[in-house]
Subunit: 300 residues, 2 copies
C-alpha cells in the first residue's frame, strides 16, 4: 500500500505542475530533490514570477524511519517502544499575481506505522482577497460533489472541520472561505483502506481543474494600487495563520523538517499596517464580513 | 510597589517617544489608549513613515484581575485557587527605513500575584540587517556597563540567555547580535525588590541613548536596491521569529491579548524567496555568518 500511495502522489504532483504551467503559460517549476537524513526525502517544485502565479509550490515527500518520540506521544503510544513510521504527502500553496485571483492550498497525506496503524488526511481551502459569490459557490459545489460521491456525511463534517481549522483566533477571522479538512481517516467499517484512498485521490484530482478554472476566469479582471495594497495586507494574515496556527507548519519547524519546503507556503511579499480598517461599505469591508465560520456557500 | 513601577514605566514610555521623535525629526507617535475587559488597559504608541523610522511602536500596559488558569498552570500553582495578578510593562520594536540602521527591541515588565509572588523581566536585543563591528561592540559595551553596575554575573548570564532566546531554531540563526534577556528576577538575597527595580530602570533608561545614537550615526549611509531587498528578506526572518518562537507573542495571541498592540512588532513589509542564498563573500553572507550564539561582541 505504501508504494501504491507514494507512486500515485508522485504522479499527481507531476500532473498538477503540468496543468498549472499550461494555465499560467509563462512560469516553469524548478525541481529541488532532497534527502531526509533519517530516511526518505522529497521533491519540492517551485514556480516564481509566472504570468498568473507569482509564487507557488507543489511539494511531494515520502519519509520513513524510527518514529520520533513526539509522534508517539501525540498518538498516546509508549515513547520507548521501538516503532517505524512511513509518511507521504503532496502539499500545494499558490500565491497569484492578481488580487482578483484567490490564494489556494491543498494537502493530501498518508501515514503508516509498524504496528499496522494507518490513516489518510488532507484538505483544500480557498483564500480570495476579494470574496466573489459565484467563485465561492463553484468551489464548494465541486468539493461537495466529490465528497457526496464517497460518503453522505463527508462534506458537512469536513467543511465544518475546515471552518474550525483555517481560523485566526487572534483576529476572529477565517483564513478565507474554507473548504474541506479531514484527518485520521482510518479503516473502521464501512470504510476500507481502498475506499479512503479513492476519496483522497478524488480530492487530489480536483485541485488542478478547480484552480486552473479560477486562474483563467479571474486573472484579466482589472485592479489597481488599492486592490494590490489590500492583497498585501491579506497576505500578512496568511503569514499569521501559517506561522501561528497551522499545526503542520509548527510541527515541521519544531521537528527539523526541511524549512524551505515547509515555508514555501509563505507569500512573496506581505504588509502589516497598525490597526488597518477598511473603508465602510467598501469591497474590502464586504470581504472581511464574509470571513466567518458556518456560511453555507453551496446554497448562498 | 505596583503603582511605583507602573508610574515609572509610563513616564519612561513618554520620555522614549519624545527622544525618538526628536531623533527622527519627522515622524510623530499616534496614541491609542485601550481598556482590557478583565481589568486595566494600555497605551499603544505608533510612529509610521518617519524620516528614519518606517514603523515603530512603544507600548505601555498595566493589566490586572483574576489570574488566568494558564498562568497558574505555567507557575505550577493550583488552577482552582482564587488568585489575583497585576502585570505592567513597556515593549518597543523599531523598524527603520534604511537597511543600514538596525531593528531594535526592548521590553521591561513587572508581575505580581496576590500570594506575594513578584518578579521583573525584560531584555534588549539588536537586529542589524548588516552587522557592523563597531556598532555591535558599542551596543554590548553599553549593556555590559549597566549590568556590571548592578551585579557582576548579570551581563554574562543575561547575554547567554538572549543568545538562546532570540534564536530561530528552524533556520539555525540568531535573530541578530543578541543583547540581554532576563526573567523571574525575584527578591532572593542579596537582591531586594529595590535593587531589581533599579536594574530594570537602568535598562529602560539605556534604550533611547543607544538607539538614537545608532539612528543618527547610520541613517545617512548609502544603500541601493540590493540592500533594500536584503532588508526585506531579513524582515521576513523577524516575522518568523516573532510568530513562531517568541513566547510573549504566542502567549498574547493565545490568551486574547490586544492583537494590534502585540503585532505592532511586525515590520511594515516583508519578503520571502525560496531557498535564498547570498552571494559568496558578499556583505550579506558575512552578516549571515555572524548570526551565531556565543560571539563575544564586547571584545570582538
Amino acid at each position: 500500500m505504501k508504494e501504491e500511495v507514494q507512486d500515485w502522489f508522485k504522479e499527481l504532483q507531476h500532473n498538477i505542475c503540468q496543468q498549472l504551467e499550461e494555465a499560467d503559460s509563462k512560469g516553469k517549476f524548478i525541481h529541488d530533490v532532497w534527502d531526509r537524513p533519517g530516511g526518505g526525502g522529497g521533491d519540492t517544485r517551485l514556480l516564481s514570477n509566472g504570468k498568473i502565479i507569482e509564487k507557488g509550490g507543489v511539494n511531494f515527500s515520502a519519509v520513513w524511519g524510527k518514529t520520533p518520540e513526539h509522534v508517539l506521544r501525540s498518538l498516546q503510544l509508549p515513547a520507548d517502544e521501538p516503532s517505524e513510521f512511513f509518511a507521504t504527502g503532496v502539499s500545494i500553496v499558490m500565491h497569484p499575481v492578481s488580487p482578483m485571483v484567490p490564494i489556494i492550498h491543498m494537502n493530501i497525506r498518508y501515514f503508516e506505522m509498524s504496528n499496522d496503524t494507518w490513516w489518510f488526511g488532507g484538505g483544500i481551502d480557498l483564500t480570495p482577497h476579494y470574496v466573489q459569490a459565484d467563485d465561492a459557490k463553484y468551489f464548494h459545489q465541486r468539493l461537495k460533489a466529490v465528497c457526496d460521491e464517497h460518503h453522505p456525511t463527508y462534506y458537512g463534517e469536513f467543511k465544518r472541520w475546515a471552518d474550525d481549522y483555517f481560523f485566526l483566533k487572534h483576529r476572529n477571522e477565517t483564513r478565507g472561505i474554507g473548504g474541506i479538512f479531514f484527518d485520521y481517516l482510518k479503516g473502521e467499517p464501512p470504510f476500507s483502506r481502498k475506499s479512503r484512498f479513492d476519496f483522497v485521490k478524488a480530492v487530489g484530482n480536483l485541485f488542478a481543474p478547480i484552480y486552473t478554472h479560477l486562474m483563467t476566469k479571474n486573472h484579466q479582471l482589472p485592479y489597481g494600487e488599492k486592490e494590490k495594497q489590500w492583497q498585501n495586507l491579506r497576505r500578512g494574515r496568511y503569514v499569521e495563520f501559517n506561522l501561528v496556527w497551522d499545526r503542520g507548519t509548527k510541527f515541521g519547524l519544531d521537528t527539523e523538517g526541511r524549512t524551505e519546503s515547509i515555508l514555501m507556503s509563505l507569500p512573496p511579499l506581505a504588509v502589516w499596517a497598525y490597526n488597518y480598517q477598511p473603508e465602510p461599505s467598501s469591497e474590502e469591508e464586504r470581504t472581511l464580513n464574509l470571513l466567518r465560520k458556518g456560511i453555507d456557500w453551496v446554497n448562498s
